[in-house]
């Protein structure tokens, strides 16, 4: 435990931009953890879903963009359906992805996918994947 929480980031984090992209108010979240409890992919994530919101509430966007969590999320919207505050976490995850992608950092590369697999996969898998992980 060496990383102290520095709250200077709260000022640096462009909350307006974030809310513009996501359309969500991250401060509605009261950290009940229901999103994490119900997340089917939580085992694969380095940050639990509720932690993503918590870090954003505290302006720690730098830490959030480094996690794999937002890339593991498949927008199944289970969290949204059960969220007691009606926060759409899938939109928050998307907004973080967009912040990364809009800096021209694609997360997947079509050319690196084996052509054999590419032929087998249903189109919706490929289109969906590129929609989420490339600009």
């Amino acid at each position: 435990m060496n990383n102290k929480l520095t709250l200077e980031n709260i000022q640096q984090f462009d909350l307006d931009e974030f809310q513009e992209i996501s359309g969500e108010n991250i401060f509605a979240c009261y950290q009940c953890g229901n999103c994490s409890a119900g997340c089917p992919a939580a085992d694969f994530m380095d940050l639990a879903p509720h932690e993503v919101i918590r870090l954003l509430q505290l302006g720690q966007i730098d830490e959030v963009v480094k996690t794999n969590t937002v890339w593991i999320c498949a927008a199944c919207v289970t969290c949204r359906v059960r969220c007691p505050k009606g926060v759409d976490l899938s939109k928050i995850m998307e907004a973080v992805r967009q912040i990364v992608l809009r800096k021209k950092n694609n997360y997947v590369d079509l050319n690196k996918i084996e052509s054999e697999l590419r032929e087998k996969l249903p189109q919706i898998a490929l289109v969906g994947n590129f929609r989420k992980f490339t600009l």
Binding site: I72, R80, D88, S90, A125
Partner: protein
Amino acid sequence: MEISYYPGCTLKTSAKNYEKTGLALLPIFDISPVEIKDWVCCGATYSLTSDNLMYQLAPIRTLIRAKESGNPRLLTLCDMCYNTLKRAALFIENDEEKREKIKNFMDEEETDYRGDEVEVVHLLTLLNEIGSQKISEKLVKSPLDLKIATYYGCMLLRPKEIQADSAENPQLMENIFQGMGVEVVEYPFRTECCGSYQIVNRREIILDRTKKIISSAVKNNADLMVLSCPLCDYNLEATQKELIEQDSNFKPLPVLYFSQLLALILGIDPEINDWSLHNIDPTPVLKRKGLL
């Protein structure tokens, strides 16, 4: 009665069995699907950003085509198309500013679209409107002693604004099959995500999901699984082979589109199915149950 029909990309390729059997069901109930003209890909996943309207253009174009067709209802079979089209319509329905912006991207001849003129309806909803009683009246083969697991996944049920049925306890498939005497087994993962498009680059997630979902259905004595989404079908069906290789204790389960099973029960020629598209061959169990 005619209904506009939007197939989407996957139904024309890897999910041919779904389209063929799904559409074959409709004439039984005097419904003729009319494929809309010049449809484009819906985008597969609904864009979750509020500031980028570009991703909404494709589904809205499709909705405009549907509006032009003059039929107020647009039928989809694919859950992902259903979700994307329905959410796109909702996205602009109550937002004049967004509508105006989107209009700027449209070709001039394209009609003004408000978001509420076309009702996107999934095949399962349509069949539920017909009602299990009417469907059962058309029953040709009595599927005795058949136990199925239904799988809904995400796109048909979430978010609530567009859900075709209860997000926690959907009954769309139960209504249809229980009505004709098929036993639907209870297992806890009917609505849990299959991993979706992560299949492209995070295959391990899908394997984990498939193992959990299929094993639970098998444990609860399902003979086969039925579902309605081509991506769920791929994820839950095609990856079972790998799971068998990884784990000798893994018991596979045949996976079908619900329409394939329904078509067999209603006496539609089984030959319209291309069984070679299945990785886990469902024909032995179907034969055993007298459906083939």
